[in-house]
Amino acid sequence: MKKRFALLVAALAFISAAAAATPEDRLSAVFEAIEANQLDVALKRVDALITDYPNFRLAHLVRGDLLLARARPLQTFGNVVKTVPQERVEGLREEALARLRAQRQRPGDDRLPRYVLQLHPEQKHALVVDSRRSRLYVYANEAGQPKLIADYYVTLGKNGIDKTREGDQKTPVGVYHVTANLPRNKLTDFYGAGAFPINYPNEWDRRQGRNGHGIWLHGVPSDVYSRPPRASDGCIVLANPDLESLRQRLQIGLTPVIIADEIEWTDRAALEGERAGLAAALEQWRADWQSRDTERYLAHYSPRFATKDQDYAAFAAHKLKVNAGKSWIKVNLSRVAMLRYPAERDVVVVTFEQDYRSSGLSNVMQKRQYWVKEGARWKILYEGAA
């Protein structure tokens, strides 16, 4: 009797686990059955998946193969006749590969993206996109440490990444954040469950002469479950249920979105080492500013430094003048976040709340700086209001 009860509990647990499985998990289970040469099981699984997600085109393709395999030997995955537009089949094949690869090669617990050096306490999550894997990883901020809690298949730009021009149909590479929440009822069906614009082009992009606009995270039209890996005009596109679950984690103006071609992975110790190194440089900059030793203070700035409207020389002249007139300065930094810039060599975006008090002026502002490692030393390349 007891044994039977245990079995029942186990069965229930299995059913609830199956119900919680995402369509991608279930697709993966279909492929597992195929690999185990259980084609009947595979067909049943894919039938059930299609019943629940009738617009999952990739599932239909797999179902087509499973049925056709009963009629004749398959030549290829997605065994459609040659008269069919091959790019559509190719898109689905790529989607299958991207989904399976991501499922089977989830980063281990000690594998962290090199970008998330530090989140500030109010940033609950950070998103990191790997373009080659067509994957968006969600990291939770656990006492300042990033922890992987979810990952989703994403569609990126038709022409890949490294956006530089308006209309190039590419997804930008860089450090961004979500800037708004556009609800479903404000959008056409094309954007699905909603949209979250990001701040492309950011300060760094503008400095590199990159233009264009309107890079969003958004959903898919109601007649599809997902789109091929390279199909958007540069936006990051998620399946609607995925966007729904992501929605509750996004904080407008706060949640970082880091987009990389291929995520550079590191371990916790190395990440902490890099974080501590930069944190020390930032602290020295603060202390030197407060000391009113303008030369020491300016030594933190790269000769290539520029703000929106000043180059290094103009900035230095201005600071020399301002600091000379002060009898005291107190600077306090809080809510510090540090995010390494993908594809750049040692560039980190640092944002913080700056509480500046002096014998003359006092103010509190959100500041953003771009730090770069020149030789062995971290220097500031850009600063401005965030």
Partner: protein, 324 residues
Amino acid sequence: MLNSTASRNRLRGGVILALLLTAFGAAPARAGDLEDAQKLLKAGERQQALEKVNRALSANPKDPQARFLKGLIYTEQGKQSEAIEIFSKLTQDYPNLPEPYNNLAVIYASQGQYDKARAALEQSIRTHPSYATAYENLGDVYAKLASQAYGKALQLDAANTGAQNKLSLVRELVREPGPKPAAVAAAPAKEPAPKEAPKEPAKAAAEKPADNTAEVMKTVDDWAQAWSKKDADAYLGYYAKDFTTPGGEARDAWEQGRRSRIDAPKSIAVGIESAKVTMRNPEQASVSFRQTYKSDKLSTTSRKTLELVKADGRWLIKEEKSGK
């Protein structure tokens, strides 16, 4: 009724029939009617065949052979719902007979109800695991279901995703139904039992247009490729001698215009997307597609329809229409 070349099987059936003749007075007339009905159906005399079958059925309403034949006649007359009713009832009364399942499946498939066809054929095979016709038909149904699935995957017209095969109707009850011994009597009324029903010639014919489709598509692809390679001679070679030039231009003038348009850009890339081939007849085809044209000067996308004719074994463009 029996002839000297009768197989052993038939002979045995004949013996049983002879025994039955004494049991049912009406049986001889019925058997004669059935045989006549079969001959009439073969000769295309469906209405007369139906009358004969009905006569046989009035004598013996439960006779599976007669009911099967009636179902067949209805199928040929296009009375699908009546035919479905008869075959369904037969599967209920004689669940061990594979043929009614098979024919049900053929009708379902012709209605595009491939899931139902699949279920019926799987049933047919379950009753007789070595039933080749059902296997063949099931293969076609699977292929058809696959093509529907591909259509959903790729958002295409079903016609585009695979060859259209017509399933084979089984024309005779080959096996002896289990539950009703009387039905055994039916055996002599038919041709020597073939182990596999012969493949319908219609099926082979139906496959042919599919091959042409591939040929036509290849021509269109080659045409686009010649254009992309800026090979004007090859490109113009795809146009029929009596090609209808746009605006009724003289052929020479048109050719010259085309040549200069092909020569001018440094590079050209022509892509064909969402192509749909319609075979007007085996020698005439119409292909509609989305044409993407990209050169160093211009990039456009347009709808295009090419009318092609087959001449001397080659497909050639007879007419080219844009924006349709």
